[in-house]
């Protein structure tokens, strides 16, 4: 038993406490001085703390000449006590942004987490130290260790070629399948009378690189299969003694690589699909809504005409448009529906959202020019592309309106119709109100005048000026748009508006740009709410779902790493004699450890590379193949994918880090074998 090194313990404790204090300080400073989101602040501060714990373990391993698990453990335990006392005194905000630590039990939990985290991360850091020879003098070289690791994994030229082939051919085939199905789809469209290439070759010719890659993959796959058949045929002719025996560890190594590859594959594909959903949702939300709203802590926003040019002069702001928002009831005949009635300026609305491009019938500008709304049924725009049975609905409604032109008028004189202000409604609302362009709808606001029996709702007739289609059911069924002057008159607001809609040059900088604008306007009573804040529930739910998915799928990689662990233990048992020989020749403990760590990382790395390629190919396949979804359920026609390089990189980092951790036990075991353990056996 090695003695407990007090000096190492004290240094570890000091470093741990410093890391903990730094985390608190960074969190406090970042949230007070910067515009980073709370998530980013937590990520940065805890990331820094984790790195500091790792580094502390690394340093202490040199002081304690080994893993120092007892010294680090004692220091972590002391840190937990310190953390408990500090948190108890400070009562810092909890992770749910608005709650405070009130409960001592919760503090216990966090202190315990801090201690456990410090210990594990410290040990992880110490493993780097031990690997570099913390037991005496550091040695960063690993040339002969790598050579020996290579022979253990049988990474000779043949197996490397085989691995490269196995790593490239299946993803290549997936990619080829995607290219082929898309080309086939295009040809099918052409046959159905739509524009498209006449045959598959012509369809593929447009994407020469994809064609070349997929052709190469198919050829390589055929060669590989041919080679395999040949090898099997040769094997059948050999006598049993002539067959080369493969040790169990070689098979286990292959299984370990496959395990990591499958885990990484699943993780990347699922995260890419979830990112795809998120990106799609973001696109739809930002298509209908602006990036941010400029609001005021007062009901008086009559100076907006002066504020607009000021806002537009802020460099990061690309557009601004006034809006008024109120809840109303819309009805046509006997069908009422609740709605968010938004007053907009059709001239500038296009600079902050996609409304003008969402019009599928009529014109957005007609809301302020009611004279232009035709008295005969307006045709749907030919370019309108709707999901599911949407296009059919448009055609049917248009034809119905055409055959019953009297429905439009409802006994109102054409002159009176022309004077009615215009309103734009979503496709779903048009469906439920059975209202088409030119139809009259009633808008009722509960904020009416006082009568003898209480408030009397006020109502007014509008004519439908356009039908909008955003692709989000919520928006298409709930929003209606009228001109700003009409809204001001209807809600009796005078010259007031609710606020300004803003568009930024960089969506992701919305928070920072918003703050800059508020500062430029002189701060209070102005305030900016950005899209992330406005849709926090939705995006938080998505993020949580993605995180939960990532954690669950990381377990696949974790299980794969247990494969690595058992493979390495088998290898250590198989190579006990060799380890002894190397030690008798003067190999250090850390050298032996390096051999097995390198092997584990090689297994993990090869598996990760294969998994990433498979994931990438699968994403490309999903994108090109277009897996159908029911648009009435998901409001999206194909399974979306969004390949995010950062996400792939993170998955790779997690997989390699986990496989490194899996090597530590067998590698340490191997390094501690006595030189005579393997010599005694025979």
């Amino acid at each position: 038993m090695k003695r407990f090194r007090v000096r190492a313990f004290l240094v570890a404790l000091w470093l741990f406490v410093a890391a903990f204090a730094a985390q608190l300080a960074i969190r406090h400073l970042l949230s007070a001085r910067t515009v980073l989101s709370p998530d980013a602040v937590i990520g940065l501060s805890f990331g820094a703390e984790a790195l500091a714990f790792l580094f502390a373990g690394f340093l202490v391993s040199f002081l304690a000449r080994g893993f120092a698990w007892r010294e680090l453990g004692a220091a972590a335990l002391s840190l937990a006590v310190v953390a408990f006392l500090v948190l108890h005194r400070m009562k810092p905000p909890s992770f749910s942004y608005d709650k405070f630590f009130a409960d001592t039990r919760e503090l216990f939990l966090w202190a315990a987490f801090t201690g456990a985290g410090a210990w594990l991360l410290g040990l992880w850091g110490a493993s780097f130290g031990v690997l570099l020879g913390a037991s005496s003098s550091p040695d960063l070289r690993f040339a002969f260790e790598a050579g020996i690791a290579r022979t253990h994994l049988r990474l000779n030229r043949r197996t490397v070629a085989l691995l490269v082939a196995l790593g490239l051919v299946p993803p290549g085939l997936l990619f080829a399948a995607g290219v082929w199905t898309r080309a086939w789809d295009q040809v099918a469209r052409a046959r159905a009378g739509l524009s498209g290439p006449p045959n598959v070759i012509a369809a593929m010719r447009t994407d020469a690189l994809a064609l070349a890659v997929s052709a190469a993959a198919v050829v390589a796959a055929l060669l590989l299969v041919g080679r395999w058949v040949q090898a099997r045929a040769q094997l059948a002719h050999l006598a049993p003694g002539q067959r080369r025996k493969r040790p169990a560890t070689a098979v286990m190594t292959a299984i370990s690589i496959a395990g990591v590859a499958v885990g990484v594959w699943a993780l990347t594909v699922v995260l890419s699909v979830m990112s795809g959903f998120e990106a799609d949702l973001k696109k739809k939300i930002l298509g209908t809504n602006a990036h941010a709203l400029l609001l005021k802590y007062s009901s008086d926003f009559s100076e907006w005409k002066a504020v607009m040019p000021k806002a537009l002069s802020v460099p990061g702001i690309a557009g601004a448009s006034p809006f008024i928002l109120n809840e109303v009831i819309l009805s046509q005949g006997q069908t009422p529906t609740g709605a968010e009635l938004k007053g907009i300026d059709p001239a500038t609305a296009g600079s902050v959202n996609e409304l003008p491009r969402q019009v599928i019938a009529g014109e957005l500008s007609w809301v302020s020019e009611p004279h232009s709304i035709p008295l005969t049924a307006a045709k749907p725009h030919p370019s309108a592309q709707l999901l599911g049975d949407g296009e059919q609905y448009l055609q049917d409604t248009y034809e119905r309106k055409q055959s019953h032109p009297d429905e439009l008028a409802k006994g109102v004189s054409p002159e009176a119709l022309r004077e009615m202000p215009g309103i734009c409604i979503g496709k779903e609302m048009s469906h439920s109100l059975r209202a088409w362009v030119g139809d009259v709808v009633q808008v009722i606001t509960p904020l009416g005048d006082m009568g003898p029996t209480g408030p009397i709702p006020r109502s007014r007739s509008f004519r439908v000026a356009c039908i909008l289609y955003s692709g989000m059911y919520e928006y298409d069924s709930k929003f209606a748009y009228i001109g700003i002057p009409e809204a001001q008159k209807f809600f009796r607001m005078g010259n007031n508006i609710t606020g300004l809609e803003l568009k930024f040059r960089d969506v992701d900088a919305a928070r920072a740009e918003g703050r800059r604008l508020v500062t430029a306007l002189g701060g209070f009573p102005y305030r900016v709410k950005d899209w992330a804040e406005l849709n926090r529930n939705l995006f938080s739910a998505l993020k949580l779902e993605k995180l939960a998915m990532a954690i669950i799928l990381t377990f696949i990689v974790l299980v794969a790493c247990f494969n690595i662990l058992s493979t390495l233990i088998m290898l250590v048992l198989e190579k006990t004699k060799e380890i002894s020989i190397l030690k008798s020749m003067g190999a250090r403990d850390s050298s032996v450890m390096k051999i097995f760590v390198l092997e584990g990382i090689a297994i993990g790395g090869i598996g990760t590379a294969m998994g990433l390629l498979l994931g990438l190919a699968s994403c490309s396949f999903i994108e090109r193949f277009g897996l159908q979804l029911d648009p009435d359920v998901y409001y999206i026609s194909n399974l979306p994918v969004n390949v995010d390089g950062g996400q792939f990189l993170m998955v790779a980092a997690i997989a390699v880090a986990l496989s490194y951790l899996a090597t530590l036990y067998p590698a340490t075991k191997a390094s501690r074998l006595s030189p005579v353990d393997g010599l005694r056996e025979e």
Binding site: G133, S135, S136, S137, D139, R141, A143, F144, G147, I148, T151, K577, E578, I581, L582, K583, S584, M585, G586, A587, R588, D589, S590, S591, S674, P675, V676, L679, R680, E682
Partner: protein
């Protein structure tokens, strides 16, 4: 660290202390409940360049003795001194470096790494001591020539005969010019003629390179040709 290594002893030390000295070496193993005493206070010394044979019946603990004096296995009690310094007082890494530079082992089985060629196997101690690959292979080539295998550099152990394998093992033990060679029945697995060749080579190398050696053997003729003969008897080393 470097200064603590007894690699280059001062002239005075060379006179006073022998190259290798065992003092009261005890070694015992536990086999279940039973403690087996292999060495019971063995003491001996070996001068630099001296060559000795070690004989004794099977199971008497000759291999254990070699492992202990070769710093592979610490004794239960007693000291192993090189140039008057206790080897097991060194830390793990200095001891490994010392072994790398000063002690060469040859075992009854060749224990070559099967995936590497003769040259790579022989270069391994050089690589372990972090010599550049070219340099390590250059030295290895020279030593392989010395043991008469200059023509079989790129053969793997599986492609060599038993005698050749043992010669490669010998070359590997000698590649870094150690001061002590410990051989554990190096010819125990070879036929007489081949074994005789290895014996001749051992004696030859001792004469030419001045390497001290302890050779464990069952072969009385080889033992007789050694300048000094030791015998392991009841856990003690006695002059035969």
């Amino acid at each position: 660290m470097e200064a603590a290594l007894p690699v280059e002893p001062s002239p005075a030390a060379r006179v006073e202390a022998p190259l290798l000295e065992g003092r009261g070496l005890h070694k015992s193993y536990w086999l279940g409940e039973k403690e087996i005493h292999v060495l019971r206070g063995a003491s001996f010394s070996l001068r630099a360049g001296e060559m000795a044979s070690l004989v004794g019946p099977s199971g008497v603990g000759k291999s254990t003795f070699l492992h202990v004096v070769g710093t592979l296995d610490p004794p239960t009690a007693g000291n192993v001194l090189y140039d008057g310094q206790d080897a097991f007082e060194m830390g793990e890494e200095p001891l490994a470096r010392f072994r790398n530079r000063n002690v060469g082992f040859v075992f009854q089985f060749h224990y070559l790494l099967p995936e590497f060629t003769a040259l790579q196997n022989t270069a391994m101690p050089g690589l372990i001591s972090r010599l550049p690959r070219d340099e390590a292979e250059q030295v290895a080539r020279e030593v392989l020539e010395l043991v008469g295998l200059g023509h079989r550099l790129d053969h793997r152990p599986g492609e060599l005969s038993g005698g050749e394998q043992q010669r490669v093992a010998l070359a590997r033990a000698l590649v870094l010019k150690p001061r002590l060679l410990l051989a554990d029945e190096p010819t125990g697995n070879l036929d007489e003629a081949t074994g005789e060749g290895i014996h001749q080579l051992l004696l030859d190398l001792n004469r030419r390179l001045g390497i001290a050696a302890i050779v464990v053997t069952h072969n009385p003729r080889l033992a007789e040709r050694m300048p000094r003969r030791l015998r392991l008897h009841e856990g003690l080393v006695v002059e035969a």
